[in-house]
C-alpha cells in the first residue's frame, strides 16, 4: 500500500531579524541544521523553509517523525553568517493554517 507522506510544520522565532526569502540565509540555516542532525537524517527529514511571517518568525516544513530532531538542532544553532542568533520553536502543527492562526494570536508583527 502506498501511503502519503505527512508533514509537520514548526513555527520558529529568531532572536534577531532574518530574511527567509534571502537564499544565503536559508542555505546557511539548512546547512547548520544538517551539521547538527547529520546528512542521512537531514535527507530523510525533508526540511524546507516554507514561509516567513514578519521579520523574526518563519515556518519550517519537516516530514512527520523528524520534528523533534529539527527542534533540538535549532537549539544548537547559535551562530549564523557571523552573528550571534538563537532560534526558538514556538509551536508544531500538522496544518500550516493553524500555525498562521496561532501566529496572528500572538499579536506580534
Amino acid at each position: 500500500m502506498i501511503t502519503r507522506a505527512k508533514s509537520r510544520y514548526v513555527l520558529v522565532e529568531s532572536s534577531g531579524s532574518v530574511n527567509v526569502t534571502d537564499a544565503s540565509f536559508s542555505n546557511a540555516l539548512l546547512d547548520s541544521i544538517r551539521g547538527e542532525i547529520g546528512s542521512l537524517e537531514y535527507a530523510k527529514a525533508g526540511i524546507r523553509i516554507v514561509s516567513g511571517l514578519g521579520d523574526r518568525f518563519f515556518v519550517i516544513k519537516v516530514n512527520r517523525g523528524y520534528e523533534n530532531g529539527v527542534m533540538i538542532a535549532l537549539s544548537f544553532v547559535k551562530n549564523m553568517q557571523g552573528r550571534k542568533i538563537g532560534f526558538y520553536t514556538l509551536k508544531t502543527s500538522g496544518a500550516i493554517k493553524k500555525l498562521v492562526l496561532f501566529f496572528n494570536g500572538l499579536g506580534v508583527s
Binding site: E13, S15, N68, M71, K78, Y88, L90, K91, L106, V108
Partner: protein, 164 residues
Amino acid sequence: MVYFDLASFEVDGKLSRRLGYKKIYAAGKDVWIFERPDNRHVPQIVISKDPGVLFSALRSRDVKGIIFRDNEFAKRVAKKAAESGKTIFVPLAQLLEVSERERSSRAGRMRKIIMYAHKFKAPVRLVSLAEQPYQLLSAAQMAGLADFMFRKSDKQDLFGGDIL
C-alpha cells in the same frame, strides 16, 4: 503542565509566554546566584566547584538550590540535597556554544548528576541559565533536549512545575 525557567537577565513576559513558560525567573532580580551563601539576598542559589561550600550551603534556609560548577559532581552533596529537599539545578546554556566533542563530554557529566539525583531522590531541574537572549530555549526545545540527552521519559521531574 506549567513550565518555568531561569535566566541570567530579565526576560520580557510576552517572550516568556511565547516560549511556553509561565515565567522565566531572572538572576539578580527574582533569585540571586552566589559563589557561597550570602544572607543579604534571598532566595538564592549557590554555584561552586567545592563540595564543602555546596554542602554547607544546603544547610542554609535562604538557599533554594545549588549548581555544580563545571558539573563537578559530589555524591555527598546530592545526598544532602535529597535530605534537605533543595534543588540541584542543571544549566543547559553550557551545552549550546561548544564543539560537538565538548558538548557530549558535558552532557555525559550532566547525565551523571541527573542519574545520581534521581537515585538519591534529590529534586533536580533543567534550566537554561541563558546569559543572552539568543541562548534561551523554548519549553518544547527543553523537553526535546531532556528526552534526547537524558533518556528521561518522565520530563516533569526535570523541568515541569515551579522552580523556586
